[in-house]
Symmetry: C2
Subunit: 328 residues, 2 copies
């Protein structure tokens, strides 16, 4: 890899990291990240803000001001080119600011842009490269991408497990399996989702608050959904079946927190895109399993579906992140 | 750390790695490793051979020949000083060979040596340092150490698990959860144990061969033990209770392979020192749990017992090794 190509990857990686800041906040817009770089120095950074505006590019250009002239813009999604009453078109903003080169990770699957943003930039004399680290950018904007491709939000299933796969003792007690660092991380993940869902049994048994109890992030507590055949109590929105998540508005990233029947219902419907496994170094033995029956009758069919995407230590515990492997 | 101290650690690490070669082979003697180093160059390597002779030191000195003169010996256990009809005393061998310095990891807990080997070397003018990486050396000779301290072999519990902690579908099928690399590694671990144990239910259901099916290691298949109240079939030795492992002769390292009731019986008796978790990236859901009830009634009591000692990728799977934390 040339030094320039390596620098491009580093800056795009940083733009993707910025895009993660808007995950769970930016709906109805995708959580884009953008970096403006002139002469190897970062002049502006942006990520799509709460409610979708300003867009990442607008924010980064605002920070860069006249240093955007002749600069390179790294952006995780093709700049928008469709007119909106909510704000300016980013492709236009970038051209006007004098950006000389645009490195774009993912072509916008939204048919209202879908290549037109890049075409417009080229027509205005901007060097455009599209496709760098598209897969990583798509993973960070998973909810937006799945909305476009599968018509539903991205679903994360979170489990807090013992080494032998239990989420509680047989009597239901589960405080605590994981330690403070893991629980804090799980709260941070809540803040990165637009909504959290539990099943009716979990609500009745545990009365979970499902809020974000991290200093400074209290107002990032997401919407609370209940999978139930009955009515939902105050403060909860009800869905009757996992498939109904497609009908939720302003939810691109959904976290399912259990219990075992709810986890199984989403897995059976193949609606889980990402597993967050918080694993404590304890054995429980004959405890409660995290996942009820998912209709598996043949072990061979279980393979090839999950790929380890990340793992880390969190205090005494470990977090593993698995992603659903879907053929394109 | 000085350069010399760093070199000492590197050479001792290599001696510990050599000692692992004798694990599961060297009983009734400890699986010691030894390195002879002169002027920074390795002159001899040894590990205790099958059945316990030659000792690691004898083998390393044999390889080094006259290059042992003035050399440093790295040895994972204090050289023996008690007379045996089976071979020479290693402390004597080392002094006679002209070794100038002996770096010893673990003082020999066997009361017949217990410091006398080191004293003898010092009396013969050898520089002796004892205690370097003693904990790591003890872990590699875990079976010998536990024989001396707890009067029983070291026990490894092996489990092949899905991400949700199942060892089989509800109908019992378990072929295959883990892939080839993980299964080959598990066979290698068999070769490093003196005996393997399963419960009567597993024998009846799966008829496991429990042999080492790795090219070149077929003759390393360990003894086969059965935990059962009934008689054991031909080729199997019976034990009636987990505690009976203390009575087994020539078994320092024992691997328990299941099933769930047998695993739980050893855990309830606090007889498991090491967990080998082979984990496949699959979900099963409502499958068979790997561990039956272990009498846990309070989650707090489950914590602080297991420490991650190693983890690695094995093809698509992951191996995690946990060690039982025991206060000294």
């Amino acid at each position: 890899m040339s030094a320039d190509a390596a620098a491009d990857r580093r800056f795009m990686q940083a733009a993707i990291a910025l895009s993660e800041r808007g995950r769970g906040l930016s709906t109805p817009n995708p959580n884009v990240g953008c970096l403006i770089v002139r002469d190897g120095v970062i002049a502006g950074r942006g990520w799509t803000q709460k409610g979708g505006r300003p867009h990442a590019e607008a924010q980064a250009l605002e920070e860069a001001r006249d240093r955007a002239e002749g600069a390179t813009a790294y952006v995780t999604l093709e700049p928008c080119f469709h007119l909106s009453p909510r704000g300016p078109r980013c492709a236009d903003l970038m051209a006007r600011a004098g950006v000389r080169r645009a490195v774009i990770a993912l072509r916008d699957p939204d048919p209202r842009t879908d290549g037109q943003g890049a075409d417009y930039l080229r027509a205005r004399g901007v060097d455009v490269e599209m496709g760098l680290m598209a897969e990583q950018a798509a993973a960070a904007m998973r909810g937006f991408v799945l909305r476009q491709t599968l018509g539903r939000p991205a679903v994360t299933l979170k489990l807090g497990l013992s080494l032998d796969g239990c989420i509680a003792l047989a009597d239901g007690s589960s405080r605590w399996i994981t330690g403070e660092a893991a629980r804090a991380h799980a709260h941070l993940e809540r803040a990165r989702h637009d909504a959290i869902l539990v099943g009716g049994g979990t609500l009745r048994a545990d009365a979970p608050r499902l809020d974000v109890r991290l200093p400074g992030l209290e107002d990032r507590s997401p919407r609370r959904l209940l999978l139930t055949r009955h009515a939902a109590p105050d403060g909860w929105e009800r869905i009757a079946r996992p498939d109904d998540i497609a009908t939720l508005s302003h939810v691109d990233h959904l976290m399912v927190e259990g219990g075992a029947e709810t986890a199984a219902a989403f897995l059976r419907a193949d609606l889980v895109d990402r597993l967050l496994l918080y694993r404590a170094p304890i054995l429980i033995g004959a405890g409660r399993a995290g996942i009820a029956g998912i209709g598996l009758t043949d072990l061979a069919a279980a393979h090839g579906r999950w790929r380890l995407a990340d793992d880390r230590r969190l205090g005494e515990d470990r977090l593993e992140v698995y992603e659903r492997v879907r053929s394109a």
